[in-house]
Symmetry: C2
Subunit: 144 residues, 2 copies
């Protein structure tokens, strides 16, 4: 359980730092930033709402809210899905991409400074593998 405690505290503390950095650099929240990253990486720079929600690990309604916010800020747009009348694509705009380019370096810097650069290559590899295993189990519908 000690491991779990450390994990939990660290996750919260790191999240807090990141939030602070993003807010200062671009007025973005962490979830908003995550959304932009995922969109920027996606083919055609667009992702379906539900898939995006799963990726960012956020409820569908929270995503609806955040996309609306990002839309107001001009960083994202909604597009209807041709193949499925119900579907909605979130699409990152040019402004969104520029914003991301501007903010990403500072973000990476924080993650490196507090997490990545403190770990040896071995530690990093081990931790990544461990996280992957856990994530996989958590994403499995039955909890495996």
């Amino acid at each position: 359980m000690a491991a779990w405690r450390a994990f939990l505290s660290t996750a919260h503390l790191l999240d807090r730092r990141i939030e602070e950095q993003l807010k200062a650099a671009a007025g973005l929240t962490h979830p908003q930033f995550e959304i932009l990253v995922r969109l920027a990486e996606a083919p055609d720079r667009q992702v379906r709402m539900t898939e995006l929600a799963r990726g960012v690990v956020v409820s569908k309604s929270a995503l609806t809210y955040q996309i609306t916010q990002l839309e107001k800020a001009g960083l994202v747009e909604r597009a209807t899905c041709p193949s499925d009348e119900r579907g909605v694509f979130a699409v990152i705009t040019e402004a969104g991409l520029r914003c991301l380019e501007r903010v990403a370096p500072g973000h990476v810097e924080v993650v490196r400074r507090y997490l990545i650069d403190r770990l040896s290559r071995d530690e990093l590899r081990t931790m990544t593998a461990a996280m992957r295993k856990t994530e996989e189990a958590l994403r499995a519908p039955d909890g495996r």
Copy 2:
């Protein structure tokens, strides 16, 4: 960055599972549960508000809110601090302790199932060490 992604997703997913389990088992949120755990472990089963907030990694105002909720539920009480007129102790009640005893096993079970038991002894040790280093850095006032 892949490590970071895995870490982030896993933390969110696991948190979600835990929240779900606690809600079902006792109507508690994860922060509320954390608060109870820390109080139960403390000498005299009481902790000062500010210290508790630091431990649980939550803002002071969020703690005030949660303690009020827990007080309504009869799981926690507030006590004035004799040595410092400003200070407030959060104290866990008998009912709080009983609640914790009832819920803790299920909670531990979830954490083990998804995180602990998936990792080898080595992985676990490495990860704990890594988290401790990171946590220490994040808690240092200057970010070291």
